[in-house]
């Protein structure tokens, strides 16, 4: 069973000060999953992703990627940070940002060349942004910024993708384009884990879900664990979550 796991997290505890941000969290993400991490603000969703990426140092716990310690598996992981984490007035072009996805594979002292350029253009085509290749990044809308970040993740050619709120603040067309892309990843046997905020779309977009609030509330196939009881446990009694039909009319 162990070698079928894309991501394995055991007993993960993370603390910034005295209080735990994540407490003794276990997580198994089978290969080829499309998984959502949901939970209230401050539940530790981003921290969990950052821990898997090695950006945050856990107080305790073990993280494996494809059966190997996470620190040895960086090449296998693709990362899509929140859009707001970078300065979109930075002097660089759309194409340049996407090429950055190849920096890890390039290695020291090597400059990106024709091959990296072609890969980046292809990725931009896949996210519908090829005509923006030579634009300065400050000219992009929020949805376009997100597409550029996804293009950068595409050229990484990773087998496991971690995304921090990829659907946040994008329009319906971009949301649809993103979910198509994620399903494409899944079809190729890749694994995708997204921090996700829109409870309405969890059932439509994802096949697995982790309900998180410092502790793991539940984790598994959406059909089994995404229910009222677990949501109430995750968000506390205050949340009146009505199970509405998810919007399926995005076309």
């Amino acid at each position: 069973m162990g070698d079928a796991l894309a991501i394995g997290v055991e007993d993960l505890t993370v603390a910034y000060d005295e209080t735990a941000v994540l407490w003794d969290v276990d997580l198994e993400v089978p290969k080829g999953s499309l998984m959502a991490i949901v939970g209230p603000n401050g539940a530790g969703k981003t921290t969990l992703i950052r821990s898997v990426l090695g950006l945050t140092k856990p107080a305790a716990g073990r993280i494996t990627i494809d059966g190997r310690p996470a620190s040895e598996a960086k090449r296998l992981i693709g990362y899509v940070p929140q859009r707001g984490t970078v300065d979109w007035d930075f002097p660089t072009t759309v194409l340049d940002v996407v090429i950055m996805g190849r920096y890890g594979a390039l290695g020291w002292l090597k400059r990106p060349g024709r091959k990296e350029r072609d890969l980046a253009l292809e990725a931009l085509d896949q996210v519908g942004m090829q005509e923006f290749a030579s634009r300065h990044i400050s000219e992009l809308s929020g949805g376009q910024q997100q597409r550029v970040f996804l293009g950068r993740a595409l050229v990484q050619d990773a087998s496991v993708y971690l995304m921090d709120e990829p659907f946040q603040g994008v329009d319906a067309a971009t949301e649809k384009a993103i979910i198509e892309l994620l399903r494409g990843f899944k079809a190729q046997g890749k694994t995708v884990v997204c921090v996700h905020h829109d409870l309405q779309t969890v059932e439509e977009y994802f096949d697995r879900v982790l309900l998180l609030n410092v502790r793991r509330i539940a984790s598994g196939p959406v059909s089994e664990v995404f229910n009222q009881d677990n949501l109430r446990l995750t968000y506390g009694g205050r949340l009146a979550f009505s199970r509405r039909e998810p919007a399926r009319s995005l076309d």
Binding site: L55, Y79, D87, F90, P91, Y103
Partner: protein
């Protein structure tokens, strides 16, 4: 022109100009990364932090050799950087506060040491205090070799780690997720910045050296949207500021170099903020004005169209009746002139009529079908007719 040539012929002046251009180039290049990483204040903190290093290096060696003093400065500045970093990491003090504390503490200690040195019987009173405001005239040829070696090394590091530094500046989190050693890269970049600063201290002084880190980069950002071009332009601005500031100060007795260089650099910043294409304030204001003027005139165009619907379309209307359509913020006559210049309206007797293009644009602006019938127009425009 002759004065210029005689400057270049003058051996001392040539040394001074070359040295100042070199330090401007290096600090301009490294300043770009400091600016983009929102660490512009780091230059200020590090240059001030260098002062006690200079004083201690002199006290220990009793030598005024530039090599010794620059090494002392570099060690102190580097320790300052390390201290800022560890304060930010281990306490709740934020970066700006940590920088301010390190700057003032190190600079204070440096001033105390400098005063102590001035009182020493054998100190040879002149010399070290030029490090406060800089004296480019004191640059010697062998200083240039040292500056070239150190500065060249710093530039080489930037060239070799170009893509890593670029990613570090743009998206450090992503860089780290690729497995790049972020902290190591930060240290190397800081070291290069320290080198850029300490080779400038003799000519520019600890007090104003930071301006040569920030100003060229801030000016260069105005002119380009590409990092490579920005680095080159910033280096160029730094070199020009350094050389011309040093030459001006050398031609006037007792005029310190640092302030002069900073004045030139600031001039470049002001010109860039005002006149750069795309990002400049002047072009921005002009564009805004032109846009408003166009929109105002298009409001008048729509009014004229609405008026014309009450008669047959080519019936002329006077300026007064157009102006009476609504409260106009601006000069209707001016708007009509703009529209005439664009070929959207034309004079007809004592009044104005829409041209065909004008009518088309008016419909477009009102989001009407171009071939709408009069009945459709009446429905679409109900409630929008003039009062």
């Amino acid at each position: 022109m002759e004065a210029l040539l005689s400057w270049v012929d003058d051996y001392t002046l040539r040394t001074v100009a070359l040295g100042s251009a070199m330090l401007g180039l290096v600090s301009g290049v490294l300043g770009t990364f400091a600016l983009l990483r929102r660490q512009s204040l780091l230059g200020d903190a590090l240059s001030h932090a260098a002062l006690p290093g200079i004083a201690l290096a002199f006290l220990f060696t009793r030598s005024k050799s530039i090599l010794v003093l620059v090494m002392g400065a570099a060690v102190a500045a580097w320790l300052g950087a390390l201290l800022i970093d560890s304060v930010v990491r281990n306490t709740r003090v934020k970066t700006d506060a940590a920088m301010a504390v390190v700057l003032s503490v190190f600079f204070g200690v440096g001033l105390v040491l400098l005063t102590y040195i001035q009182r020493l019987p054998d100190a040879g009173k002149s010399g070290l205090d030029t490090f406060l405001f800089g004296q480019a005239a004191a640059l010697l040829e062998r200083d240039l070799y040292l500056m070239a070696a150190l500065g060249g090394g710093a530039l080489l590091v930037v060239a070799l780690l170009w893509k890593e530094f670029k990613l570090l500046a743009f998206d450090p989190g992503f860089a780290s997720s690729l497995g790049l050693p972020i902290r190591g890269l930060e240290r190397v970049l800081t070291t290069a910045l320290v080198i850029a600063i300490v080779i400038g201290l003799q000519a520019v002084g600890v007090v104003l050296m930071s301006a040569l880190v920030v100003a060229p980069a801030a000016a260069a950002r105005q002119w380009t949207n590409r990092l490579s071009a920005m680095v080159v332009i910033s280096g160029g601005f730094g070199a020009v500021s350094g050389a011309s500031g040093a030459l001006i100060s050398s031609s006037v007795p007792r005029l310190p170099t640092g302030p002069m260089i900073v004045i030139v650099a600031s001039g470049i910043v002001i010109l860039s903020l005002l006149f750069a294409p795309r990002r400049g304030l002047v072009i921005g204001a002009l564009r805004k004005r032109a846009g408003r003027k166009r929109l105002r005139s298009e409001v008048v165009l729509v009014d004229l169209y609405l008026l014309s619907l009450q008669h047959e379309v080519r019936h002329p209307h006077t300026t007064e009746s157009i102006a009476g359509m609504r409260y106009q913020s601006g000069d209707v006559v001016a708007s009509l002139d703009t529209l005439t210049a664009r070929g959207l309206v034309a004079r007809s007797g004592a009044g104005w009529v829409l041209t065909e293009t004008g009518e088309r644009l008016a419909k477009e602006l009102l989001m009407l079908e171009q071939d709408a019938s009069e009945a459709q127009l009446a429905v679409a425009l109900a409630g929008r007719a003039p009062r």
